[in-house]
């Protein structure tokens, strides 16, 4: 069973308390953007096999959205953080690198 710590209320929440929201840090494109950018934003996903940044909502708790870094091949969770961040914070990147030395944020 997947458990994630809600960064707002500090609860170690089990997945039945949470709603998944797929990829985090999506760069949004609106009217006037190129077809490529719009398609990428709406549909094409890296769907990473490995370290994945994703959105979750503490649906049956405080109700807030937060973000998590998780490995899709082992289900290991590297950490959770506030949704009000455009990119993963330094301590999350560090936590990932300590477990996955070959990983770099670009891949």
């Amino acid at each position: 069973m997947l458990t994630l710590k809600c960064p707002y209320c500090g609860v170690q929440a089990c997945e039945t308390e949470l709603s998944p929201g797929y990829e985090a840090h999506l760069k949004r494109f609106g009217p006037g953007s190129s077809d490529d950018d719009f398609e990428t934003y709406l549909f094409t996903r890296p769907n990473v096999k490995g370290v994945h940044f994703e959105r979750w909502r503490h649906a049956y708790g405080c109700g807030k959205w937060f973000l998590a870094a998780r490995c899709t091949t082992t289900l290991e969770v590297f950490g959770t953080y506030s949704a009000q961040t455009p990119a993963p914070p330094a301590e999350i990147i560090e936590a990932i690198k300590s477990k996955r030395p070959d990983w770099s944020p670009e891949t």
Partner: protein, 414 residues
């Protein structure tokens, strides 16, 4: 290849069954092939088979990182139906269903196609309207389905409680020629026929890279070395995004876990397939007597072939309301597969930005039923650059806003 027949059994029995040959040959990869298919699931093997059978292309290799049929093809609940809402879907799924009718004879391999009938239950008024609409659409598409009332549902499946407290059965969409087939046999039957045409089926050969020159595919890198090819078909279901990345493009796909479970075997109690989409559960009885049960997908990206426990719990809870008699059954086995889900819940059979490279994926939770039709159309696409069966399923449809929107009609596991 020695043909299987009653006569062959008698002949081999006289020989103490020492004379049976391998169903498919084990060969090392050649340096180069006309076509390479990545992934020896049902869709990859069927694609190779129809490349040879319909288009005379037999210098083909099918590369599989694990074992043949060990992906979703060997993990699904084997429901076959073609009662889809949109015309392009009905065309390809009905092509598949109709090929299943004679597949055992065509392959000389018993795939145990059992057209026992599939009921999709309507348990809310929205579903009633939705399925009546599908029944009308199917009439226009020439797919034989029928809207039936609750009494007829009860008649077809007496063990069902149609007066469930939360979700009473209000009727159903009935496809009498839908049913099930033996999943492994579909993979094995196609593999045997491919091998017989001289194709190489190479297991434990993982593709790790795609090579190209001037925007055209030239081959693949694998755990068994580099192999060249003129055209490449990527048919790897849950791993599609990963392999597409090697070929330099991205897909509108998320990979998630879908689970199934079977009970201890019991005496025959149900001779149709029942799907209950509102409560996310479906069930049929296997020839061995096990109740075969499936439900909805997990909601997060996953490549582990393991799913979340609470989904099993939800599925079983939902089914117990509709089938009270299963409440004391013991469950024997549970497993998961990684399914490739697109935004409109329809597959992608398409050319790709890399010339000579084609992709067949996005079958998600419901592609077992489509294997023969998908292989038929995809082989034509690879051989001729166009197939009427696959024309609407190009990956550019997302950019162009031409969805084949089955997510309203079939957004759950099936």
């Amino acid at each position: 290849m020695k043909r299987y027949s009653a006569f062959a059994i008698a002949r081999e029995a006289a020989n103490y069954h020492q004379g049976w040959e391998r169903a498919w040959a084990k060969r090392a990869p050649k340096k180069r092939y006309d076509a390479i298919i990545i992934g020896a699931g049902g869709h990859g093997l069927a694609s190779a088979y129809y490349l040879g059978k319909n288009h005379g292309i037999t210098n083909v290799a099918v590369l599989e990182k694990g074992w043949l049929g060990g992906g979703n093809t060997g993990r699904n609940t084997t429901i076959i139906r073609s009662n889809y809402l949109q015309d392009p879907s009905a065309a390809i799924y009905e092509k598949a269903r109709s090929l299943y009718e004679t597949l055992s004879q065509d392959l000389n391999y018993n795939v145990m196609f059992s057209p026992r009938g599939v009921i999709m239950l309507a348990q809310t008024h929205h579903e009633v309207r939705g399925y009546q609409r599908t029944a009308h659409a199917n009439a226009l598409q020439g797919v034989k389905t029928e809207w039936i009332g609750p009494e007829r549902v009860k008649q077809l499946c007496p063990i069902m409680n149609i007066e469930g407290p939360r979700y009473p059965v209000l009727g159903g969409l009935w496809q009498a020629r839908g049913g099930t087939a033996r999943h492994d046999a579909v993979a094995w039957g196609y593999a045997r026929a491919c091998s017989d045409m001289g194709m190489d089926i190479i297991q434990q050969c993982e593709v790790t890279g795609v090579t190209s020159e001037g925007g055209k595919v030239t081959g693949v890198q694998t755990s068994l070395g580099d192999i060249g090819c003129n055209s490449l078909g990527i048919v790897v279901a849950g791993h599609s995004s990963h392999v597409a990345e090697m070929a330099g493009f991205r897909l509108p796909i998320e990979s998630v876990a879908l689970q199934a479970l079977v009970s201890e075997p019991i005496k025959p109690c149900m001779d149709v397939v029942v799907m209950a989409n509102t409560v996310h559960g479906y069930m049929s009885q296997s020839d061995k007597g096990e109740m075969v049960i499936g439900g909805g997908t997990d909601g997060y990206n996953n490549y582990t072939q393991r799913g979340s426990f609470h989904h099993i719990e939800e599925t079983v809870r939902a089914l117990i309301e509709t089938f009270p008699m299963i409440s004391r059954l013991k469950m024997l086995r549970q497993w998961g597969g990684i399914v490739d889900v697109t935004g409109d819940r329809s597959p992608i059979l398409s050319k790709t930005p890399l010339e000579g490279c084609y992709i067949n994926c996005g079958w998600g939770t419901g592609g077992f039923k489509a294997i023969p039709g998908s292989g038929f159309g995809f082989a034509e696409l690879m051989a001729k650059g166009y197939s009427p069966l696959t024309a609407e399923f190009g990956m550019e449809r997302f950019r162009e806003g031409r969805f084949i929107d089955e997510s309203v009609a079939a957004g759950v596991a099936h």
